[in-house]
C-alpha cells in the first residue's frame, strides 16, 4: 500500500463511498455472451452442493445435490452440458470465453471438481469432459493477466479503495457496501452487518445446520426421506441464488466503474489462444523438470507483460514514477544531426530524485516506439540526473525524441526469451542429467565440531 492508497481509503471513509483508484481495467470488456458460475460447497471440504450457472444477463440454471459425498455424479450433467456449450460456442466464434465467479473460493471449488472428475472412470464421459474443462480453466486463471476467468471480488478490490481495511474487503458483500452504498446508511455499518454472514461459496450457518439435521432422514427411501431431500434441495437453491445475486451485483458494480480496456487486446488474444489449445487436447499438468521450468517461464513472462501493460493506468504509472520505474525526461541533445538506422545517442535530463534506470538498463519511451539502452547516469547541475542513452529501436520514429521534447520513459521493457530458453531446456531434457532427473542422493549426516565459528564453517565445507 502506498500513500495514494492511504489517502484514497481516508477519503472513502469520510465521503462514505469507495474511491476509484484506476482508470484502466484489469479485465477486458465482456464478449457478447458472458457466463457466470456461483457455487455452494460443503463446509471444510471442496465438495460442491449447489451450482448456479448460465449467461450473466439471464436467470441462472440451478443444480442442487442433496448428497454431495455420494459416488453418483450424474446430477452434475446439466452443469457439464451448459459449460461445454458455452466454452465450445465461444471458442468456435473466435472469442475468448468469459467466466465470472464471485470469489476465489469458487475457483478453489472448481479446481477440486476438475481434479476429481477429469479422469474418473466411474463418471459419465460428459462429466469427465467437464472435469478436464474445469482444469483447463483453473490453469488459465492462474496465469497473470488472463482474460477468461473474472473473479468479481478481486477485480473490484484492485480498482477501488474502501473506507475499511483490506481484510474486511475480503468479504464481497462488505466490499460492495462501499461501492454501491445504501442510501442514508454508513457503509461501514452495512459492511459490518454483511460480514456476519460468510461470502465464500458457503451457506448461511442456519441453513447449513438445518441441512445437517435433515441428512439422516434424506438417506431413507420412505416418504419422509423424499421430503427431507426436497427440503435440502430447496435450502441449497436459496443459498446458491444468493451467491449468484452477489456475483451479478458485483459484476454490475465493476462494469459501472467504466474503466478503459483498450490496452488489454493483446492479453485477450493470448488468453484465447491458450484456452483453444488447452480445450483441444486437455494437456496434463507438467511433472518433469523441463515442463515445470517451461511453466515457470510462461508465468514469469505473463507477470512481466501485465506489469508493463498496466502502466497504461494513470495511478499505476504515477506509483511507478514515485519508485523510479517511470520517469519524465527532457531531450537535451543528439550526437548526430541526421541519425541513421544503426542508432544514435541522446542526452536526457531527468529532474526526479528517484530513478531506477542504471547503466545497461533497457528503457523505452512510454506510448512511443523508441527503445534505448542507458550508457551513462550522472548528476545534473540543474538537479536530478543526466542520462546518455543509445537509441536501439524505433529509429525511424526519431521525431518522438526531438531535442526539447518532454516524455515519460520506463525501464519496463518486456523481452520474451521463452523460445531461447526452450532450446536450452530441450538440450537438458535430451541429456537428462542425474542431477536433475535422477534420484536425490541419500543424505549424509555430518557431525560438526564445536569450537570457534571458523571451525564450524571449515567443518561445513568438508
Amino acid at each position: 500500500m502506498s500513500a495514494i492508497d492511504v489517502v484514497a481509503r481516508a477519503r472513502a471513509r469520510v465521503d462514505r463511498v469507495a474511491v476509484v483508484v484506476r482508470d484502466c481495467a484489469t479485465v477486458a470488456a465482456d464478449p457478447p455472451l458472458a457466463f457466470g458460475i456461483a457455487a455452494i460447497r460443503l463446509v471444510s471440504e471442496e465438495h460442491v452442493q449447489a451450482i448456479a450457472f448460465g449467461h450473466v444477463d439471464e436467470q441462472p440454471s440451478i443444480v442442487t445435490r442433496w448428497h454431495p459425498l455420494g459416488r453418483d455424479s450424474s446430477d452434475l450433467a446439466p452443469f457439464a452440458a451448459g459449460l461445454d456449450a458455452y466454452l465450445t460456442g465461444a471458442l468456435e466464434t473466435g472469442q475468448v470465453p468469459r467466466i465470472w465467479i464471485p470469489t476465489t473460493a469458487t475457483l478453489d471449488l472448481l479446481e477440486m471438481m476438475g481434479h476429481r472428475f477429469h479422469s474418473n472412470k466411474e463418471a459419465m464421459p460428459e462429466i469427465q469432459r467437464m472435469g478436464k474443462q474445469l482444469r483447463a480453466l483453473v490453469d488459465e486463471a492462474s496465469i497473470s493477466g488472463q482474460q477468461s476467468v473474472a473473479t468479481a471480488r478481486t477485480v473490484l478490490a484492485e480498482s477501488v479503495a474502501t473506507g475499511q481495511s483490506g481484510a474486511e474487503d475480503a468479504h464481497l458483500g462488505a466490499l460492495l457496501a462501499w461501492v454501491v452504498p445504501e442510501v442514508g446508511r454508513d457503509p461501514a455499518e452495512v459492511a459490518g452487518e454483511r460480514a456476519l454472514v460468510p461470502a465464500a461459496a458457503m451457506l448461511d450457518r442456519n441453513f447449513d445446520d438445518a441441512i445437517e439435521a435433515l441428512r439422516k432422514d434424506a438417506k431413507g427411501n420412505s416418504a419422509r426421506g423424499t421430503v427431507a431431500r426436497q427440503q435440502i434441495e430447496s435450502l441449497l437453491e436459496v443459498g446458491v441464488r444468493g451467491e449468484w445475486q452477489l456475483l451479478i451485483e458485483a459484476r454490475s458494480a465493476y462494469m459501472g466503474l467504466n474503466l478503459r480496456t483498450d490496452h488489454l487486446d493483446s492479453l485477450v488474444d493470448q488468453s484465447r489462444e491458450r484456452l483453444e489449445y488447452a480445450m483441444s487436447i486437455f494437456p496434463n499438468p507438467g511433472r518433469t523438470p523441463t515442463a515445470l521450468l517451461s511453466e515457470l517461464d510462461r508465468s514469469e513472462h505473463a507477470i512481466a507483460l501485465v506489469e508493463d501493460l498496466d502502466l497504461a493506468d494513470f495511478s499505476t504509472r504515477e506509483r511507478a514514477r514515485r519508485n523510479g520505474r517511470v520517469f519524465e525526461a527532457e531531450v537535451l541533445s543528439w550526437d548526430q544531426p541526421n541519425p541513421r538506422r544503426n542508432g544514435f545517442q541522446v542526452e536526457l535530463h531527468v529532474p526526479q530524485e528517484i530513478l531506477r534506470a542504471r547503466r545497461g538498463s533497457d528503457i523505452r519511451l512510454f506510448g512511443g516506439k523508441i527503445t534505448a539502452s542507458v550508457l551513462e547516469v550522472a548528476a545534473h547541475p540543474r538537479g536530478g540526473y543526466r542520462l546518455m542513452v543509445e537509441v536501439t529501436g524505433g529509429v525511424r520514429a526519431r521525431a518522438e525524441v526531438a531535442v526539447g521534447t518532454l516524455g515519460d520513459w520506463t525501464d519496463s521493457a518486456v523481452k520474451d526469451l521463452r523460445f531461447r530458453r526452450q532450446r536450452s531446456q530441450k538440450f537438458v531434457k535430451d541429456q537428462s542429467p542425474d542431477a536433475i532427473y535422477g534420484e536425490l542422493p541419500a543424505s549424509r549426516p555430518r557431525s560438526i565440531k564445536t569450537g570457534s565459528l571458523i571451525d564450524v564453517v571449515e567443518a561445513l565445507r568438508k
Binding site: 492511504v6 481516508a10 476509484v20 471440504e45 471442496e46 478453489d108 481434479h115 481484510a167 445446520d209
Partner: protein
C-alpha cells in the same frame, strides 16, 4: 468452547500485541459469554465450528484411528522406515477415556513414563494416538496449558517423537491451500514446545526438532494423504513470543487481584486492546474494538496505520493532504507525501470525468 489449551495460545500468537486477548486466553473465557458481558448483547455472527465441519473432522479422525490406527500406520510407515503391521501403537483415548478434567493427568502420567523409557533406551511405541502434553507458561505459579496432539510418531533416527496433526481438508497433488496451513502449523508449534518441556524433564530435550508431521485428506473421501514432515521454526518462535506475553499478562492479573478477586470483565480496561486486521476472523471482540478506534488510521488497516501512525485521526490526514500546516514532526514528515498522493487522486478523478 473456551480459549484454553492450544486454541488459546495459537490465538495469542496471531495477535501477540493485544493484551486484552491475552487476558481472555489466560482466563480461559468462553468468548460468546465474554462478548455478552462486554457489549451487553449476544454476538450477532457465527461462532464456533459448524456441525457439518465437526462431523467431517470427527469422521476423518475415526477413519485414521480405527482398527488399531491401521490407516494412520499405513500412511506413516514408509516415511519413517517402519512396516505398518509391525508398528506398536498406544491409543490414549482408548486407554483412559473420559472428560478432559479427569483424563488429562492420567494420560500425561503415562506419557511421562514412556519418555522415561525413551531416555533409558528401552523399547517404546512407534505411534502414540491422542497423547497428552503440558506447556508451562509460568511453572513457578503452576500455570500450565494442556495440549493434545492428534498423534505422535517416533522418529527412529533421532529416537524422539514428532507431533502430528490430522486435517480433513483435501490437498491436491500433495499441496494444501496456504490459508489452510496457518492454523495447523501454529498448533504444531505449541505441541513442539510442550514436547520439549516433557523431554527436558528426562534430559533429552536436545533430541526435539522444530518439526511436525501433517496429514491431510485426499480429494477422494476420508482417505489419508501422504504425511508431510515440515520445519516449523517460525511458528515455534511466534508461539514462544505468545507464551512470554501470556506469562506477563498472567502476572498482571495476579497483581490486580491481589486485594480482591474480581472478574476479568471488570478489569478489562486494564488490558489494552490492539485492534488490527488479523482480529477479523480471529477474535470475537473485533467489531467492538474497531468501534473503539473509529476515526483513526487503525480503522483503515495495518498498512495505513504503519504509514501514517495508528493514532492519526482520519480527518487530520485528509486536512494534511489538502495542505493544512503540519504541527508535529510526524506530520511534517508525512505532509509532502500526502499532498502528492492527493494530487494524484485529484488528477485521476479529473481524467475519469473527462
Amino acid at each position: 468452547m473456551s480459549l484454553a489449551g492450544a486454541r488459546g495460545i495459537v490465538r495469542a500468537s496471531r495477535i501477540p500485541t493485544c493484551d486484552r486477548q491475552a487476558a481472555m486466553v489466560v482466563e480461559h473465557v468462553k468468548e460468546p459469554d465474554f462478548y455478552r458481558s462486554i457489549v451487553g448483547e449476544d454476538f450477532p455472527g457465527e461462532y464456533g465450528e459448524r456441525v457439518s465441519a465437526h462431523r467431517r473432522g470427527a469422521a476423518f479422525e475415526r477413519a485414521a484411528f480405527d482398527n488399531d490406527a491401521a490407516q494412520l500406520k499405513n500412511a506413516l510407515a514408509s516415511r519413517f522406515g517402519y512396516q505398518p503391521e509391525e508398528m506398536w501403537s498406544r491409543n490414549f483415548a482408548e486407554e483412559i477415556p473420559g472428560p478432559p478434567t479427569t483424563m488429562r493427568a492420567g494420560r500425561l502420567h503415562r506419557l511421562a513414563q514412556i519418555f522415561r523409557d525413551l531416555a533409558e533406551d528401552k523399547p517404546v511405541p512407534e505411534l502414540l494416538v491422542q497423547p497428552q502434553l503440558r506447556i508451562p507458561i509460568r511453572p513457578e505459579v503452576k500455570y500450565f496449558e494442556y495440549i493434545a496432539p492428534d498423534f505422535m510418531v517416533l522418529d527412529p533416527e533421532r529416537r524422539m517423537y514428532l507431533p502430528g496433526e490430522l486435517k480433513s481438508f483435501a490437498e491436491r497433488d500433495g499441496v494444501a491451500s496456504r490459508a489452510d496451513l496457518d492454523l495447523p502449523r501454529r498448533q504444531a508449534g505449541v505441541q513442539v514446545i510442550a514436547l520439549t518441556a516433557l523431554a527436558g524433564r528426562v534430559g533429552i530435550a536436545d533430541r526435539v526438532e522444530e518439526q511436525a508431521v501433517f496429514i491431510y485428506a485426499t480429494p477422494y473421501g476420508l482417505r489419508l494423504g501422504p504425511p508431510h514432515l515440515e520445519d516449523i521454526h517460525a511458528e515455534c518462535r511466534e508461539i514462544h513470543r505468545a507464551i512470554v506475553r501470556l506469562g506477563i499478562v498472567h502476572a498482571r492479573l495476579g497483581q490486580l487481584r491481589a486485594v480482591e478477586d474480581t472478574a476479568l470483565v471488570n478489569l478489562i480496561d486494564e488490558f489494552a486492546a490492539d485492534y488490527q486486521e488479523a482480529c477479523h476472523g480471529t477474535c470475537i471482540l473485533a467489531s467492538p474494538c474497531k468501534l473503539a478506534v473509529a476515526g483513526s488510521m487503525r480503522e483503515l488497516g495495518d498498512e495505513a496505520r504503519e504509514i501514517a501512525g495508528p493514532d492519526m485521526p482520519i480527518e487530520r490526514l485528509i486536512d494534511l493532504s489538502q495542505g493544512a500546516e503540519p504541527t508535529t514532526s510526524l506530520e511534517r514528515e508525512l505532509a509532502p507525501t500526502l499532498r502528492d498522493a492527493a494530487s494524484v487522486l485529484d488528477a485521476l478523478a479529473a481524467r475519469r470525468v473527462a
